[in-house]
């Protein structure tokens, strides 16, 4: 195996001219927006004013960085397709044939090395100009630097020459000019200038993170599907004992069937997030390392098992016990999906996401939306069924009356018999429905409580965190926090107020009122959770360059 190659960068010489950046662009024909080598300016310090005079204590330095071809690359670890890999020269490189352009590596790298090419739909990055290296030449950036601030070669040789700390070469160390004087100035809260090459960064206050709408849709729909499935499962198990199979099935089947399209739509929608969906099947190549791979795996498994269960339930195949086992396994797979989804976002490079609030709120979304969706679905399906039954009764009466003279009784009697039979179930169904709604209302209020505890703690943690956390906090609070407030108000109204009334009227209220309550609660909370998820994505702020 060839020796690991790398760069040496002498920050004391860099003037921030970006000849390295442009030479790389020229050599690789990169468009505006794809920058394999980036140069950041960092500046801070203070000015002292005394009357009409002023004295600066200002430090500035530039950092030129392409890719560090890390020993343990974060991008390789998170890549779901194994497109991102480290080759035999130790160069971290991308296999175009596998890359789906999900941009997860872009989130994970603190150096900004993976660069998305929107025309090609795949990720691109510094390849250490291996073609030039093989021809005995320097990489384009190294050859370009007018100050000779960059060197290239075997990393062990560079370390031997310059020392092996990443910050300063030990043997030939030169102290930076104008080093910050401790005690003379507070550490800057924010660098005076931050580089403007942030792909995901939206203008302040712009909630419509259009690029991530597919992910918003996917996560909401997937979590809602899992939650609905679990809630239905609970209703099923709890309801059978009291109300019997038939009532439970009648009540819950329509809701069950509605889950399928939701999860499928969600997963299809997530494909819109990819630059190169043709390679999508590769996304489960990296189960051993990538939470994204795991998410796709469990998502697909949930969709398949859920579909299988729906078919089996519809056709009443197998035995009820076996169907329950299948449902239970499906539910577990669904919960695993939500867990993997939340772990995808636990990236050390994104303080806004790398917080225990992420998995907690993903699960509260799951159960809150799942519960209320089921509540609305149950009550609507029940109402629909009641109307259909009433029609049949009326029709039967009329028909009975009309045909009595005709002397034909059997056909007239059957519907009546069916109606009578239904009637026996009807009471059980109604009772099941009402108790389900009460439990749903209760669960919603509990989930609301969890959100109202978790979200303020999360927001405070961000506000007190590092520079990027604070930037994320600023985004959340942009526009005076109007979106955040809307999100909280809506969920309070839906889950709290409406949930409360749903609980009350579930006991003895008219079904029509229950329909309004349950549906409105669901709609309000769906809106709230969608805003919350939009806030989640737009508050993205990655550490580093």
């Amino acid at each position: 195996m060839a020796k690991q190659l790398g760069f040496y960068f002498d920050q004391t010489l860099c003037t921030g001219c970006k000849a390295c950046q442009v030479a790389c662009k020229d050599k690789n024909d990169l468009p505006v927006g794809v920058t394999w080598r980036r140069v950041a300016e960092y500046s801070g310090g203070t000015w002292q004013q005394e009357g009409d005079t002023f004295t600066p204590n200002v430090f500035t330095y530039y950092t030129s960085i392409s890719c560090n071809h890390c020993d343990e690359p974060a991008c390789v670890q998170v890549c779901p397709t194994t497109a991102m890999h480290k080759d035999e020269h130790g160069i971290v490189t991308i296999d175009d044939g596998k890359c789906v352009g999900c941009r997860y590596c872009e989130w994970a790298c603190p150096y900004g090395a993976p660069q998305y090419d929107k025309n090609a739909g795949v990720m691109t990055k510094c390849d250490l100009c291996i073609d030039r290296a093989n021809a005995g030449e320097q990489p384009a950036c190294v050859a370009a630097c007018p100050s000779r601030a960059l060197e290239f070669g075997e990393i062990e040789e560079l370390r031997a020459k310059y020392g092996d700390t990443a910050a300063i070469g030990v043997q030939n160390a030169r102290p930076p000019h104008d080093p910050p004087q401790p005690g003379h100035h507070p550490p800057p809260r924010r660098p005076a200038h931050r580089p403007r090459h942030r792909r995901h960064r939206q203008p302040r206050g712009d909630l419509m993170n259009v690029h991530e709408l597919p992910l918003v849709a996917f996560t909401i729909l997937a979590q809602m599907s899992v939650g609905s499935f679990v809630v239905l499962g609970v209703i099923h198990l709890a309801g059978i004992r009291k109300h019997g199979h038939s009532a439970v099935d009648k009540l819950s089947d329509p809701a069950l069937y509605a889950i399928g399209p939701a999860i499928v739509l969600g997963m299809a929608g997530s494909m819109l997030h990819l630059g190169n969906p043709l390679n999508a099947l590769n996304a489960i190549n990296h189960l051993g390392s990538s939470w994204l791979s795991r998410e796709i795996f469990f998502g697909s498994a949930f969709a398949c098992m859920g579909a299988a269960f729906a078919v089996v339930q519809w056709r009443r195949w197998l035995t009820p016990m076996l169907r329950q086992v299948l449902a239970g396994l499906t539910a577990l797979v669904g919960l695993a999906l939500v867990y993997c989804m939340s772990m995808v976002y636990m990236l050390p490079t994104v303080p806004a996401w790398n917080h225990w609030a992420t998995p907690v709120t993903f699960f509260t979304t799951t159960f809150l939306l799942g519960a209320l969706a089921v509540g609305a679905a149950l009550v609507i399906a029940y109402q629909y069924r009641q109307r259909a039954t009433a029609k049949v009764l009326v029709t039967a009466d009329i028909a009975a009356g009309a045909d009595a003279d005709a002397g034909e009784t059997p056909e007239v009697e059957a519907p009546a018999a069916a109606v009578v039979a239904d009637d026996a179930d009807g009471a059980a169904t109604s009772s099941l429905l009402r108790s389900s709604l009460r439990w749903i209302a209760t669960a919603s209020i509990v989930m609301l409580g969890v959100e109202f505890v978790v979200l303020p703690i999360y927001a405070l943690d961000l506000a007190n965190g590092n520079v990027n956390a604070q930037a994320s906090a600023a985004i959340l609070m942009s526009g005076g926090g109007v979106y955040l407030i809307a999100r909280l108000v809506l969920v309070f109204a839906g889950a709290g107020l409406l949930g409360f009334f749903l609980y009350r009227f579930a006991g003895k209220g008219a079904e029509r009122r229950l329909v309004y309550l349950a549906t409105s609660a669901f709609v309000l909370v769906l809106a709230s959770e969608t805003i919350g998820r939009l806030l989640f994505y737009s508050s993205f702020d990655r550490i580093g360059i």
Binding site: C17, V22, S43, T55, N119
Partner: protein, 812 residues
């Protein structure tokens, strides 16, 4: 892309291709949505290295060429050409990292030259103006019609007004070019009886005019940066090689290396913490723009009162320092020492406490600096061209010279004159422009006056040289490789208004290869080739004690209908009856061969044409080692006098006093000693109640003046921003990256705010050279500094005071 032209389809040629990709697959059971996401570069697509090879197997070749812009350096560029298109740029592969043989690495701008050569703004065909001048509305014409129109107009101007009504305008876009550059235009005019000339340059008006009154000549060579290995203290006074001499073979690299090797301490005096300050300064001393003369006075006061000045040097080599060494004609109290000690006419002692509130530098700092500078033996004080480009720039220049004299550093290795860094050059042959039979000259900056009120301009009031007054206004203007018609000249709005009136300036001929702001004001617009499309012998620029020559060879065929300036002038010469004299029977290529042959005669060791074509670049290091200015004068001032009246360094200049006494209507002051002259629109102008901020315009890494200003990679790397201190920004609710307006009575520009600690409070800097781009309300969306600068010329040189401005800033 800033572009307010409304060209007919013929101007901009091929439409920009849009590439749309769309691939979505239907998900099982789910709705398949098809979304097209188009992406476009906004450029003619660059030829890429993966271009299909031609049927004839043309293959790949690598050609030596160069970058010829006015950057102060001069870099070779290796162009990889595949099937007639340039696919990649590489730098000089010869040379090493040693000073004297250093590799000439191109800067960020040269690296992007493909996007300049293949830019959509390339001019493609000869054009004639239709519609109002400046509207940028053109119609394509044939070359024949273009040449005929120009020749007819030229003849008419010469008949009606004479040769002094013709002006070859200042332009520096092809400074590095030799036979292929603007000299052809001057040569043509010189063969036709001449034209109104100019003195000075937009870079050096004030320093060129002031230096003779101290050192006797316009440009007296200072010590090189190579020589700075021998100094103890390098004071870069308004000098920023890292952003004004950016070649990796030029002063940027030499200065960095000199410090590495020599270990000198470096002090940078600049309102901005420039990139030079970032990597080289041990101390950054910011000051209010235009107050350098006051700082010098404060420093000199300390040196004199603490007896740290070099009295022996002053006695032997200078006149005017003290009362004992004044010329006869000088009044008592006119010496610089009297000025410092308060014994002069103003009676004010120039203590550090006096200088502090003016410069913004604390008195204690001034004292410390004075002691450091005086006690560093030797000390190299090297001024750049920033301090002189002010309304009071001429006095500033001479003040900094005085500091070098007071400390006795002139003529010593490791010391210097206080001028800009010197360099070695060799006598590479230049394309002969001939001599202008007309000796009448105006300042390069006052051509607008010469259009508006030419016959009113006099020697004593307007700096006309060679004649007592102008007789005719400028009626016909040649604008070659120049954006100084509109973009780079001051007060763009006022200039545009003047130029719109075609009864004043009747004919503007523009020869350029990009549709820049100035090109939009053409009456006849001619497409020049880029330097990649022809061969020329290119001399070196400023690269310390190394000179070189490049044979820049034709890499690609001329694009579109473009033709070289030499060819254009040949055709016009033909119609004017001077073709043979103009060409001397040579094509452009033959001229280049001639120049190489002449260089071989003039420079020992200069290679032959074929050798140079293979080598690409030929180096010659200074045979004398390091350049040390006025070495002979220092060794023996009697045998080697300066070209001043006294033969010595004139701290007090009789000739300046005479000018001050005889010139009329001087706008400002012309002191005989380098006194500090408070300037109009300086920090204490009453106008600060309306426009409280001083604005300067630093040279920007992104461009060379306005060249390269339309290159996408460079605009991405370095967007146009205005530097503003957090104190000034916070007071106005401005945050970094906010869209802001900077404005005064002369105009309003829109650009992004760079809130940074790297600039002094009370000062803004708008990088100069951005492409002027007015919207329908007249707000310049390109962010050009010259929308805000003034026509008022500096008093002695009648030059451009582009760093003297008062403005206000607000969120857009």
């Amino acid at each position: 892309m800033p572009d307010t032209a409304t060209p007919r389809p013929t101007l901009l040629g091929a439409p920009v291709p849009r590439r749309s990709f769309m691939k979505w697959s239907a998900a099982a059971g789910g709705a398949a949505t098809a979304v097209g996401i188009g992406a476009h570069y906004g450029l003619i697509p660059l030829p890429t290295a993966s271009a299909e090879p031609a049927a004839d197997g043309a293959g790949e070749k690598v050609v030596w060429n160069s970058c010829n812009v006015n950057c102060g350096s001069r870099c070779p560029l290796l162009m990889t050409v595949v099937d007639g298109a340039i696919t990649r740029i590489d730098a000089d592969p010869t040379g090493d990292d040693e000073l004297g043989s250093q590799q000439i690495r191109a800067c960020v701008r040269g690296r992007s030259i493909r996007q300049r050569i293949y830019n959509p703004d390339r001019l493609k065909h000869p054009m004639k103006r239709v519609g109002k001048r400046g509207a940028g509305e053109f119609e394509q014409i044939t070359w024949e019609e273009a040449f005929d129109t120009i020749a007819d107009s030229l003849k008419k101007t010469l008949d009606d007004y004479g040769n002094e009504a013709v002006y070859v305008h200042y332009g520096s876009g092809t400074t590095g070019a030799n036979a292929s550059g603007g000299t052809s235009v001057s040569r043509l005019m010189n063969l036709l009886g001449g034209s109104l000339g100019y003195y000075g340059t937009y870079s050096t008006s004030q320093i060129n005019a002031a230096t003779p009154y101290t050192y006797g000549v316009e440009r007296e060579t200072n010590n090189s940066f190579n020589d700075a290995v021998n100094t103890k203290l390098l004071v870069l006074w308004g000098n920023n090689p890292h952003e004004t001499r950016m070649s990796g073979g030029g002063e940027l690299y030499i200065a960095q290396q000199a410090k590495e090797i020599g270990g000198a301490k470096v002090i940078v005096i600049d309102p901005r913490q420039s990139d030079t300050a970032v990597t080289m300064a041990d101390e950054w001393v910011p000051l209010r723009p235009g107050t350098d003369g006051a700082l010098v006075a404060g420093l000199a006061h300390v040196m004199v009162t603490e007896n740290m000045h070099d009295q022996a040097f002053l006695d032997t080599y200078c006149v005017g320092f003290d009362e004992e060494h004044l010329p006869e004609s000088a009044k008592p109290g006119s010496s610089y020492k009297a000025y410092l000690l308060g014994d002069g006419p103003d009676g004010v002692e120039k203590t550090p406490e006096w200088a502090a509130p003016i410069t913004g530098i604390p008195a204690a700092t001034i004292r410390r600096l004075a002691r450091e500078i005086a006690q560093a033996k030797p000390c190299a004080i090297v001024q750049g061209w920033g301090p002189q480009r002010h309304a009071n720039g001429e006095a500033t220049v001479r003040a900094i010279y005085v500091l070098a004299a007071i400390t006795g550093n002139v003529g010593l290795s490791g010391g210097g004159l206080g001028a800009r860094e010197g360099n070695y050059s060799m006598a590479t042959a230049r394309f002969p422009g001939g001599t202008n039979p007309i000796t009448t000259k105006i300042s390069c900056f006052t051509w607008t006056d010469a259009i508006e009120r030419g016959p009113e301009m006099t020697k004593l009031a307007d700096g006309v040289r060679g004649k007592d007054k102008l007789d005719v206004p400028i009626k016909f203007l040649w604008n070659h490789a120049s954006n100084t018609l509109i973009n780079q000249h001051s007060d763009i709005n006022r200039t545009a208004k003047l130029l719109e009136d075609d009864s004043l300036l009747e004919m503007i001929v523009v020869i350029d290869n990009q549709l820049c702001a100035s090109a939009k004001f053409a009456d006849i617009l001619l497409p020049d080739v880029s330097n990649a499309e022809l061969t020329d012998l290119i001399p070196s620029g400023y690269s310390g004690d190394l000179a070189y020559a490049i044979l820049a060879q034709k890499a690609i065929e001329p694009l579109f209908e473009c033709r070289s300036t030499y060819d254009i002038c040949t055709e016009i010469a033909d119609r004017m009856g001077v073709k043979d004299k103009f060409t001397e029977g040579k094509t452009l290529d033959e001229w280049v061969e001639q120049l190489v042959a002449d260089s071989q005669k003039a420079v020992e060791g200069f290679p032959s044409y074929d050798e140079l074509a293979t080598m690409g670049i030929w180096r010659k290091a200074n045979p004398a080692g390091f350049t040390v200015g006025l070495k002979k004068f220092r060794a023996d001032p009697v045998a080697n006098p300066l070209k001043t009246p006294s033969g010595k360094i004139e701290i007090y200049s009789e000739r300046l006093q005479e000018i001050a006494d005889t010139w009329e209507g001087v706008d400002g002051e012309i002191p005989a000693i380098p006194a500090y002259v408070p300037s109009w629109e300086g920090h204490d102008d009453p106008l600060t109640s309306t426009y409280p901020l001083q604005m300067i315009g630093h040279h920007y890494k992104s461009r060379t003046h306005s060249s390269y200003g339309n290159v996408a990679w460079l605009k991405e790397a370095h967007p146009q921003v205005v530097w503003v201190n957090p104190v000034d920004a916070e007071a106005r609710g401005i945050e970094n990256d906010d869209v802001v307006h900077v404005f005064n009575d002369r105009g309003r520009i829109e650009l992004l705010a760079r809130v940074t600690l790297r600039i002094a409070p009370g000062v803004l800097s708008v990088p100069q050279g951005a492409w002027y781009s007015p919207d329908e309300k007249g707000v310049d969306k390109g962010g050009s500094t010259n929308t805000l600068t003034s026509w008022r010329p500096s008093p002695l040189s009648k030059g451009n005071p582009q760093h003297t401005n008062l403005v206000q800033i607000e969120k857009a």
